[in-house]
Structures are given as structure tokens and as C-alpha cells.
Subunit: 380 residues, 2 copies
DNA sequence: CATAATTAGTTTTAGCCTTGAACTAATTAT
DNA sequence: ATAATTAGTTCAAGGCTAAAACTAATTATG
């Protein structure tokens, strides 16, 4: 209700966006689009045929519905080759880049190790490398429909500025969005990396219905909150900071200012230090006592933070992405059990904890998603 | 993006609702409405004049803008006497009811002590008492535009059912919305009590911009999350359960299943038991050592939970409502200080902690708000 | 195998909504 | 007193969607 009123000119666009948004998840016939949007069949015909002429949509050809009479449907699909976007993930020690077509297909990706580079140097690196790579892979910059940038920690997405991230000095307070917009002449959107991963999971792995929390575990612990596929961004687009939930107010001091933050306990490196284990495999090994202790510790600490999140957010799904590749199922099952027995809400609505369907190293791909979203509906 | 597409018939209604929604907060002229909605002046004229004819809007008469040339504005306002709604707050030991006109003015309210009553008896009591009171106060049931019901704890707002609340057996799993709809023949909406209070604060005390958490402290501790005035309801409309955030995983068992829940520490009765203090006055008294200890304890426990909420939600305001009437400013100031020094986000965006502007005992009034919202925009 | 039934998609006409421009109305600036 | 400014209205024009009647393509049925 807070947005501007719709004038009649925006109405058409609005309905076009709605149709596109439906087709992003699965090919549908005109009849099905009509049913799902509530628009009249005739309106769908008009809008769809316009978009086919413009090249955004494709007809996939006839497709039979099993065991029904009547004319065969003609499935519609987004035309992937209409254009593409670039995703750039900024990381403490590397920058990774991916090209993704508007259907969500990754065209290529690569990683640049950066080491101790300055902001200006990093920007120059991006400016030089991207056009070269585009030329090599025969992608025309004219078809570049947008650019998504993701980074850890607090950002100001509206202003397009990365804000003093802990353990991350690159691009500190630098107006990266403005700089890239100027260079590449396309829309540029900045988003938290956990947010982009959550959106990627929702759009291209499994549509998230209801309220879900996407948790990333690597150097730090990040999180992003989704409600029916929309990000809940909080006041400054930095909601979901699970890593700095205090699970022990008398615990060690954390660089963030708080004490006993989850991030100090439940990352792989923290567990390695505390329990002297070798790797994530040892966590779920039957033979290692140290591994078992570390596993229990992980479940208790992470579980405590998640119970808080479940109670506050009324979650029904928690998605885990990151370091604990090995036997993720065992970890998610244990966390689910922990939450079930420690949350009020769960007595009524059980929470599912599942591993992310995204493969590791999807950050650059994920960074591209907000740019695709922006293309499809002018909003991240 | 998830809703249905707009057909042209809904467009008009949509714009009417937008205009009404603007006028709920302050009287505006047609020109200002045009500016704020983006609708053409001529469209505003048409829509507004229609609504004046229908009796929903009123012209307040000419009003000068200070120091500008031109014709005087004619301020528009919601017509309070167009109709009213009833709010019913269900509490462990009482039911309170309020009549509120659609401008948000409380017409009357009263409280029924219920004691150990059964669900059926309580329902009968409501069915009998309300029409009697309406007749007494000369309110015509024809002008009853809606009915809002609020209750503590987990609910299923969509289905209109109160779900096994802890410490609250009344209406347990009872389809209250259906029953009342049948009896009174108007829309009935069910909402969590903290949610209704948050909406009341937003609509009739101070418009909440950004992300805010409304915290209620009484027998238990509840919470509701607002983003630009819209409730973030979570998966089942029960987000914000601050009271069962664990602040000590090794603490006492809570009836909810978790351990060391905030609710076990930071309510007035918990503090009374733990520190042997007399009342909330003692908390902020200069002379009481016990009071000081209790105060510090309150700030630390509540602060810990709030830091978690701030980090997860990226809050910029926390609003406190409830038991700590005495010297609330001192408590909010201390909490603000605690959060400032314990949250990552706050280093970038300071969080404000403020006492609610609602007077105590606003539950029934607040319960009516979702019904008003429903009247204005068909959504809670 | 022909006809009916069913489902998909298109064409065309009509109606509704918003708009923009030109207007009236009411006030201040000079 | 006249110009400038802001508020609000009227009305013709244009754009979007809807509904109905249509064509198209397939399965069910005897």
C-alpha cells in the first residue's frame, strides 16, 4: 500500500511483469497463465504475443497434458538468449564473476584472486577484465541487461555503498554501484551475499513458500530472510545477521562489539580450533570422539541461534549453505531435532532444516540474480 | 508480485484504497493526494467526489497553507461516522471490548472479568453482551463494518483459530472467527495481540518508517515486527515471539520447551520473585539496592534478546509497551545503550528504543485496528 | 471413422479508467 | 487593479482489459 498508485499506463507493464514472473519458474501455456494471473485469455494472448515479437518470450511448441482432451497447449518460456547479466561477488581475498542469461543459465564464471589489493586497483581490474572476457566468449555488451554485485556484511543497497564490513576492508564506503553504472551503462544492483544466495535458491532450486531463513557458513555466518520468495531486508537491507546473535552474553568478545556471537563458535575454523579436529569429515565420523564433541557443540550453538530466529521469524524452513559439505543431512537432521524440541512455534508448526541445493562457489552466479530480478520487475 | 494480476475493474478500487490509506494518517487536499499518489488531478477529483457521495470522505473546509499564493486547499478527511468496528481482546482472565469508528476514535470500551469460564460460555457472553451494549450506546449494528479479535500466543490467523496458547486454555483450537462471523454478519479478523498493538501505534500514535519491533511485557513477553507499517507475519502470522528467545541455553526449563527464555527473566513478576522487590517503582529507585540489581538484570536479559532481534531484523526502532510504567524513559535509555554497544548493525545505524505512546489497557482498542485496516484495503 | 466433447488460443467489439488540456475558482504578490 | 499562483473541475481522447464468438486441435464415443 505504500507504493505509488497505478496509472493506466503502468497497468499493462504491471501485467506483463506478472506474466514474465510466472514463466521464470516453469513453462506454461497461455491458458495456464490466464488461470494463474486472473487475466482474461484474450488479454494474455495480446500481452504474450507482444512479448514474443519483442523477443523476450518463446513458444516451446505443443505439449500434451497427460490424459486430457482438447487442443494441445503451446508452452511459453523465457528466451534465454534475449540477454544476460553479470554477477560479481566481492570476497575478502578474491573477486568472482559469472555471466548468467535471463533464464538463469550460467554461461561462464571465473575467479580472480586479489590478495592485498586496493579499492581503486580492484575496480580497475573489474573494468579491464570483464570486457575482455565478454569479447572472448562472444557476448555482446549490447545484450548486457544488468549487473549484480554482492558482498558480505552491512551494505547500503539503496545508495549502493558497502559499509565498513568486519574483516573486509575492500570497497569500504566506496560508491561501487555508481562507478560500475558509469562504466557499463546498465542497471547495477548491490546486495548482501547471503541475500543473493537465498534468491538464487528460491528462483532456480526450489521455490520457497512461507517464511524461510537462508544461512551461509564460511568465514562468518550470514543469513537472509525470505517471505514467499521476497527478501525481508529490514531497515537498511541488512536483516538476517545470524552470525552476531549472542548465544552466550558472557562469552568472548567479538570484533562486532557483542559477546559470545554464534560466528565465534559455529564456523568450521572455530570448531577446528576448539576441538582440534582436522576437517568437516571428522565432524560426522563415527570413530572420532573429538569429532562427536565438535558436532554436538555445533548443533547446540547453531541450534540456539536458530531457535531464536525461528521464534522471531515464525520460520518454516531453514536452508543451510556453506562449509559443512560432509554429511550435511546429518547436521540438518540434528538441527531440525534441536529446534523442534526448543521452540514454542515448532510445537504447532514443525520447522524443516535442509541443505541448500546450490553447489558451493555459487556466489557469483547468485550475485547475478538480483540483476535478473531487476530486469523482470524493476525491483530487487 | 505474488498476488493476482490487476484487471481494469480492480484498478479503480485499488486507487480508491490508496487515497483512503493516505487520508487515514492526515487530512490532505485533492492536490496533495494527487502529488502523493501520482494520480492525475482529474482522477483524484473523480474518485474523491465519488467517495464523498458515498459518505466515506468529508470535506473539512478551506485550509490555508502558510505563506503561499493560490486558491485555498480543501482538506479531505475520513468520515468517522460512516461506520465503526468492534475490537475484542481475549485475555487469560478477562475479555475486553471496544467500539472504534473508522477514523480510529474510541467510542467506548469495557472489560468483562471471566474467571474460569468455558469457551462456549465465553462465546455466549460475547454474543449477549455486545448487542446490548450497542443498543445502550445507540450504535446501529448496520454500521458495524468489521470485528477484530486479538489473543496472545500462537494463532492461525488465516483459519481464524487460536492454537494451544501456553497459560491460556480459552478458545483452544476453537474456530472463533467463523462463529463470530456467523453471529454478527460482518468481516471478522483474528490477530496476535502484540501485532494489533503495533498496528495501533503505527496508525494512531506515530507512523513507523523502516523496520520496528513492538514489544509487549505483561504476563509474557510478546512482539510484533513492522516494516514501513506492514506487519511481517512470518509463515503463520506468529512472528515476533520475543518472549521465547533463549538467553541462556542452560537456564531453567520453560513451559514452551526451550530453556532460559527471556520471559522467565524479564517480566515484572519474574523480577519480583528473583530480587524480592515490591513493584516497578523500586526498579528505578535510587535508594534500593535490590531495585538496582533487578534493573541491571532486566537490561541485560532484555538487552540480549533485543540485540538478537536487532541483528536479525535490522531494526531501527524498538517500542516498549507494558508493565514498566514507572520511569520508562530510564529503562528505554538503558536498553538503547546496551544495544548500541552489543550489535554490529548499530555501529552503522543506531537503534532507537522508545516507550509506546499507547496508554495501558489499549488491547481492545488495538484489536479493532486490523478490522479497520481490512475495511480500508481488504487486507490485515 | 465420424461426430461430439473438450481444451487452447484468437479476433473483435465494447466498456471502463485514467489522462491531459483547457477551463473555473480563489487567493497572494506587486 | 492586474499578474501570478495554486486548487479543483470538465470533457474529449486514448489505452487497457473483458466478454463473447470465433477458429484450432485434440480426445472420447459409438
Amino acid at each position: 500500500m505504500a507504493e505509488k498508485a497505478l496509472n493506466i499506463l503502468e497497468l499493462k507493464n504491471n501485467n506483463r511483469y506478472r506474466i514474465l514472473d510466472l514463466l521464470r519458474y516453469e513453462p506454461l501455456s497461455r491458458a495456464e497463465v490466464s488461470l494463474k494471473t486472473g487475466l482474461a485469455k484474450s488479454s494474455v494472448t495480446t500481452l504474450v504475443n507482444e512479448m514474443i515479437n519483442e523477443g523476450i518470450l518463446l513458444e516451446l511448441g505443443p505439449a500434451r497434458k497427460n490424459g486430457t482432451a482438447g487442443r494441445t497447449r503451446i508452452l511459453l518460456d523465457i528466451n534465454g538468449s534475449y540477454g544476460f547479466v553479470l554477477g560479481i561477488n566481492l570476497h575478502r581475498k578474491r573477486i568472482s564473476v559469472a555471466a548468467v542469461d535471463i533464464k538463469g543459465k550460467e554461461l561462464w564464471s571465473f575467479t580472480l584472486p586479489t590478495g592485498d589489493i586496493t579499492t581503486i586497483e580492484a575496480l580497475e581490474l573489474i573494468k579491464k577484465t570483464l570486457p575482455k572476457k565478454l569479447a572472448e566468449t562472444k557476448l555482446n555488451i549490447k545484450n548486457l541487461l544488468g549487473l549484480g554485485v554482492s558482498a558480505p556484511g552491512p551494505l547500503d543497497c539503496e545508495k549502493g555503498v558497502i559499509l565498513e564490513p568486519p574483516n573486509f576492508k575492500l570497497f569500504n564506503n566506496f560508491p561501487i554501484v555508481e562507478a560500475l553504472k558509469k562504466e557499463f551503462g546498465c542497471p547495477v544492483v548491490l546486495e548482501n551475499d547471503a541475500v543473493t544466495l537465498a534468491l538464487a535458491e528460491h528462483s532456480y532450486v526450489k521455490k520457497q513458500i512461507g517464511s524461510s531463513l537462508f544461512v551461509t557458513v564460511s568465514n562468518g555466518i550470514g543469513g537472509a530472510l525470505l517471505k514467499n520468495g521476497d527478501i525481508y531486508g529490514g531497515s537498511h537491507g541488512i536483516a538476517g545477521e545470524l552470525g552476531h546473535i549472542s548465544i552466550d552474553p558472557f562469552g568472548e568478545e567479538c570484533p562486532c562489539g557483542n559477546r559470545g556471537c554464534l560466528e565465534q563458535y559455529a564456523t568450521l575454523s572455530a570448531l577446528k580450533n576448539r576441538f582440534d579436529i582436522a576437517d568437516s569429515v571428522e565432524l560426522t565420523s563415527e570413530n572420532s570422539q573429538k569429532g562427536k564433541a565438535a558436532f554436538d557443540f555445533l548443533i547446540n550453538t547453531m541450534g540456539t541461534a536458530l531457535v531464536g530466529a525461528v521464534n522471531l521469524f515464525d520460520l518454516d524452513t531453514v536452508i543451510l549453505y556453506g562449509e559443512f559439505d560432509n554429511d550435511t543431512e546429518k547436521i540438518t537432521a540434528a538441527l531440525e531435532e534441536y529446534i523442534k524440541s526448543h521452540s514454542v512455534i515448532c510445537r504447532v508448526h514443525p520447522v524443516k532444516v535442509v541443505p541448500s541445493g546450490l553447489k558451493r562457489g555459487s556466489s557469483a552466479f547468485a550475485a547475478a540474480i538480483p540483476a535478473i530480478n531487476y530486469f523482470f520487475n524493476n525491483s530487487v
